[in-house]
């Protein structure tokens, strides 16, 4: 048997199609599978006495993971893409029009095209296993559901719940699915087969079916799906989308258009509209960038191991330094059943970290990552100490104290004596060289950098920094640990600032230079917001804290020289004026009100940069500002690649998107660079080099 589908008979009237793609962990709806499915449907249609048809998966944790993204990514023209969607729609219509009662028996992930297939069935039966989840995550790939999802979902569960699932790509649990009427029944996996037989017995009873359909319709759904309801709900949703993405991402907006303007024609007409919209979207560069990003992260997940990890799993860990970072790391780790011990100088500090950890857990609870019961349970899984009791038991120790080479080295050497020889010693430094810190250690092979980003709960990226002596086994364990706690690790080689901060800090620095040249705060930030950054650079500096930025900037300037010379104003604002940014209430912005306003008081303190007259209110050109800021990053990224800090361009793309919020629709920093083209990079850099100087020295990478 080479096919992916198997037709089995349950009893005289009940038949089952089992999805079981050979040589794959998941079932994916590619062209071949779809055709095979269509052929099977045809066969069943011609069979006599079929009362019910069940659709199952033989994979343990996945039902159908969706359409084949590889195939979608190959679609270059809107016509091809729309045709592809119509093909899928036709097959699902075929399923929908079968005379027998069709049941999707879902045990495992049911996503994208998989859910669209399930929606085309008459009945959805799911298990309550933890791996069962349902959703239409297409927007996250820059596209929209194209196999009827935007049509059948609102018709079944109403527009309101559909919006969350389609616009945000929200994945929901079986419990929630039952509540909103997406599925008809939710049972234990162990009784699945007997429930299937029960359903089969009932399906030719008229009253049963009537009851079933009656249960699905409600006044509220009718209201939501009316023209008026659609207009109203879509208006609010559109406002939210625009506020969040400034309309830069097309997929959610296209989905909103479709959802608003369909639903009152015939299904076929609506499906055609969906296919057209899908086609237009799938052929855009934005969608391709986002799908490429998906491939890149998949590739990262499948990377080859350098060695066997030194530990099977991290069970006990300690965090030294319970500040915002330390508590964040603890709060995230404890959710993955890791026992965390936080160590700090005194109980006042520990009291604060305890509060921070509980806050992290509370946030996780509010965003439904953990249940209330889990919150209560995890809350007691962290312990606190002012000494080093119990450190012998630790598998991993992460140091997250003040960013100072002297203090860090001293504490690390001290800690090394308190832990067992197998314990992995890690530092959460954001800029200091790992090799520098490893100098006085007895076991540098067990030492590495695990760099989290702030806020830890939100930022998916973790930089794993290998020192020159770090053993591959330890790196593998660190990778496993970060994956276990749900983060994406990117392995980078050691250098001051590592990858993300080395690229990002010059960008932030350059923004201050631009300010000195006479551009206004709001123009600089606005330029980058419209580029797609989640936050302007000056606002980000306030979030990071001017003190932190200053110290990090100093370390980079010391190491990389004039190329990263810190903007004099940054020094002035922090050292002379004592501005700290958000935590102090004032920085480039005034943070006293709920919405920060630019702090215009600082203009008079700014140091005019050389050869530039201070001209507050210099005429902004968005493109100019964007190029200025992007090119410092691109050149530094080029140097990172040349110096082999990171293995390839894709890693930089992932790191910048996950670590700094670089717009995903642009595919990441290097993809943006490729779209810009080497020629333009060279000529723009050259221009800036002539007018501005050393900061715009062209990286060899683009020669």
């Amino acid at each position: 048997m080479t096919g992916s589908l198997h037709l089995n008979q349950l009893n005289d009237h009940a038949w089952v199609i089992d999805f079981d793609q050979p040589d794959s962990k998941a079932n994916v709806l590619n062209q071949k599978v779809l055709e095979e499915f269509d052929a099977l449907l045809e066969k069943i249609k011609n069979l006599k006495g079929v009362r019910s048809l069940f659709i199952r998966s033989k994979k343990p944790n996945i039902w159908i993971a969706g359409a084949d993204v590889n195939e979608i990514a190959e679609l270059d023209t809107p016509e091809d893409a729309a045709y592809k969607a119509k093909l899928g729609q036709k097959i699902f219509n075929h399923l929908n029009s079968l005379p027998c009662f069709t049941v999707a028996v879902i045990n495992g992930a049911c996503l994208g095209g998989g859910l669209e297939l399930a929606l085309s069935c008459d009945y959805r039966l799911v298990t309550n296993s933890p791996s069962t989840k349902m959703g239409l995550p297409e927007v996250k790939l820059g596209i929209i559901p194209g196999f009827g999802g935007t049509q059948r979902l609102p018709r079944l569960i109403g527009l309101k719940e559909s919006l969350a699932m389609i616009i945000e790509g929200r994945i929901i649990s079986p419990k929630k699915a039952l509540k909103i009427g997406l599925v008809d029944d939710c049972v234990e996996p162990s009784i699945l087969e007997s429930v299937m037989l029960e359903i089969d017995k009932k399906v030719d009873r008229e009253d049963y079916l009537n009851n079933l359909y009656k249960k699905r319709s409600s006044f509220s759904k009718t209201l939501q799906n009316s023209r008026f309801g659609r207009a109203l709900l879509c208006m609010f949703a559109r406002k939210r989308v625009i506020a969040r993405t400034r309309g830069l991402y097309r997929a959610p907006l296209t989905a909103l258009d479709i959802l608003q303007h369909t639903g009152y024609h015939t299904l076929q007409k609506d499906l055609d509209m969906e296919a057209q919209a899908f086609g237009k979207l799938a052929a855009t560069a934005g969608a391709h960038h986002m799908m490429d990003l998906f491939f890149k992260t998949e590739k990262l997940k499948k990377r080859k191991r350098l060695a066997e990890p030194s530990h099977d799993t991290i069970k006990n860990m300690a965090v030294v330094g319970g500040g915002v970072m330390g508590a964040g790391i603890a709060g995230v780790s404890v959710q993955s059943q890791i026992h965390v011990r936080i160590c700090d100088l005194n109980w006042e500090a520990l009291a604060k970290s305890r509060g921070l950890v509980t806050n992290v857990l509370n946030k996780a609870c509010k965003t439904r990552r953990i249940t209330k019961e889990m919150f209560e349970l995890f809350r007691y899984q962290t312990t606190y100490t002012t000494n080093h009791d119990g450190f012998q038991k630790m598998d991993l120790l992460i140091e997250a104290i003040v960013e100072d080479l002297g203090v860090k080295s001293k504490v690390l050497t001290d800690l090394e004596n308190k832990i067992s020889p197998d314990t992995i010693l890690a530092t959460n430094t954001s800029t200091i060289s790992i090799d520098e810190l490893a100098k006085n250690l007895k076991r540098p092979e067990n030492f590495l950098g695990i760099h989290f980003f702030n806020p830890v709960i939100k930022m998916p990226l973790v930089e794993i920094i290998a020192g020159k002596d770090t053993s591959p086994a330890v790196i593998e364990t660190a990778i496993n640990y970060t994956r276990k706690i749900g983060k994406t690790p990117v392995v980078v080689n050691n250098c001051p600032g590592f990858l993300v901060n080395r690229i990002l800090l010059p960008y932030l620095n350059e923004a201050v230079y631009l300010l000195e040249e006479g551009f206004e705060i709001k123009d600089i930030d606005e330029a980058m917001l419209s580029f797609g950054m989640p936050m302007g650079p000056l606002r980000l500096l306030d979030e990071v804290g001017l003190d932190v930025a200053y110290h990090a900037g100093q370390i980079l300037e010391d190491h990389y020289g004039l190329r990263m010379a810190m903007a004099p104003s940054l020094q002035k604002l922090y050292l002379d004026l004592g501005l700290l940014g958000k935590k102090g209430g004032k920085g480039f912005y005034n943070h006293s009100s709920r919405k920060p306003v630019p702090n215009s008081a600082i203009y008079s303190y700014l140091q005019p940069s050389e050869g530039n007259q201070m001209r507050p209110g210099k005429l902004p050109s968005k493109i100019y500002l964007q190029h200025r800021l992007m090119l410092v990053m691109l050149n530094e990224a080029g140097r990172c690649l040349k110096e082999n800090i990171v293995s390839d361009e894709d890693m930089i793309d992932i790191a910048m998107i996950m670590g700094t919020g670089f717009p995903a629709f642009r595919g990441g920093l290097m993809t943006y660079g490729r779209d810009l083209g080497n020629e333009r990079i060279k000529s723009f850099t050259q221009q800036f080099y002539e007018s501005i100087g050393i900061r715009y020295k062209l990286s060899d990478y683009y020669h």
Partner: protein
């Protein structure tokens, strides 16, 4: 007991007056927090723990077997069983002695024990008549019947029943614990001044001990607040500025007319939890552990409920008989201070030949309690008395005190509501 039971390590929360810092922390939460610390800092692998036994008096309605809830919240593997013990004020002590028996019988190597109580969270109950009325209302189907049923509502339904008051009342003789102390004050002719002086002394000793940092070794600062944003570092019942004048001004609480027992010379209602790890001596040797001390022996005894405060005398008599030793051999004594009158009554009973002969079935007195040995770091009057916790807390405090004074054998004894007494012989070093 020949093979001794080791107390490997122990820790407790600060003790806080009910209705203060820990008012929103439940008994299971207090205990889970410290048990987690205890097992995490210990060198004993969690797999070696055979059982969890925890003491609690007023089992909170949401945690009928509170020991199991605590164990799971503390992150112990689900495979480790747990049960709760209740012997009123000696529930914490009972967890220790139950575990000792298990280890002694060879049924366990390592047992995590302790006691916890949140007296802030004793629920209010509805009257039985109100419950009945509500149950009837639920059964009625027709609206008219329901309306008619409303007329049967009586205002007195709403007067709540304080479960804490119920808990502190002897159900056989229907008297409050404080009244049992009044009984003893009258029986032993203990004056108001003596009681107040005793209470003052308790506060003075506790204040000094805290200043010297003696409690730091046993207390784990404990978070509280909706998001755990605050931390309680020290006990908060101790009154460093207590003076005899303000004590003497207080009105007797339990016998307004002729009484001498006041709120000032009684222990306060308190929240707190304490946890200890017990293991067999052999296990400790095998693992090269350095325990805080050992349990030499223990005894419980019963007496008249209305004289329950004399429990220590009865229990100690039995303990001395079992151990074939005299009171003199104990270097330090912890006698729980439920009421000043009750401690003084015990002092007199211990010293009285007549009491020994008539009540304890001995040829002579138990022996005088040396005031220099008694409750050297204060007691429940100044520190607080979270009923389910105290027994365990006393053992931990006694071990710390023995260490400070560099002495070996200690006695921890306490009276138990309902008419019982408990006594434990604890030693630090070699037998």
């Amino acid at each position: 007991m020949k093979n001794r039971i080791a107390i490997v390590d122990g820790v407790r929360t600060p003790m806080c007056k009910a209705g203060t810092s820990f008012e929103n922390v439940q008994a299971d939460q207090l205990a889970a927090y410290i048990m987690k610390e205890l097992i995490f800092r210990s060198e004993i692998p969690t797999e070696d723990i055979s059982e969890v036994i925890f003491g609690n008096v007023s089992l909170p309605p949401h945690t009928p077997n509170i020991a199991r809830v605590i164990a799971l919240k503390a992150g112990l593997p689900e495979s480790i069983p747990a049960y709760t013990v209740q012997r009123n004020c000696a529930s914490g002590a009972e967890s220790i002695t139950s575990a000792a028996d298990k280890i002694f019988a060879g049924r366990a190597d390592v047992v995590v024990v302790g006691g916890t109580e949140s007296m802030s969270n004793y629920p209010l109950l509805f009257k039985r008549s109100y419950t009945k009325w509500l149950m009837e209302a639920i059964k009625l189907k027709k609206v008219s019947q329901k309306l008619l049923h409303l007329f049967k509502f009586k205002l007195h339904f709403l007067s709540p029943v304080f479960s804490i008051k119920l808990g502190l009342t002897d159900p056989i003789y229907n008297i409050l614990m404080g009244q049992t102390a009044e009984n003893l004050a009258k029986e032993f002719h203990i004056s108001r001044e003596e009681q107040d002086q005793f209470a003052l002394k308790s506060h003075e000793k506790a204040t000094e001990a805290r200043l010297n940092g003696y409690f730091q070794n046993e207390i784990l600062p404990t978070p509280y607040g909706t998001m755990d944003q605050h931390i309680q570092i020290e006990d908060n019942c101790i009154r460093p500025k207590q003076n005899i004048f303000s004590l003497s001004k207080m009105k007797p609480y339990f016998d307004r007319k002729h009484g001498t027992v006041t709120v000032g010379n009684s222990c306060p209602l308190t929240d707190g939890a304490c946890s200890l790890i017990l293991a067999s001596e052999d296990y400790c040797k095998k693992r090269d552990l350095k325990p805080l001390g050992y349990i030499r022996d223990y005894a419980y005894a019963g007496l008249q409920p209305q004289r329950m405060g004399l429990g220590p005398a009865f229990a100690t008599a039995r303990l001395l008989f079992n151990m074939r030793t005299s009171l003199k051999s104990f270097d330090l004594i912890e006698l729980n201070e439920a009421f000043a009158a009750q401690v003084i009554a015990n002092e007199r009973a211990f010293a009285s030949n007549q009491f020994g002969r008539a009540e304890l079935n001995r040829s002579q007195a138990l022996g005088e309690i040396d005031p220099e040995k008694l409750n050297i770091n204060g007691g429940a009057i100044s520190l607080g008395h979270p009923v389910g916790m105290t027994g365990a807390r006393m053992v931990l405090t006694l071990l710390q005190s023995l260490k400070e004074k560099d002495q070996n054998l200690g006695l921890a004894t306490l009276c138990i509501g309902g008419g019982q007494g408990g006594a434990l012989a604890i030693e630090r070093g070699a037998a």
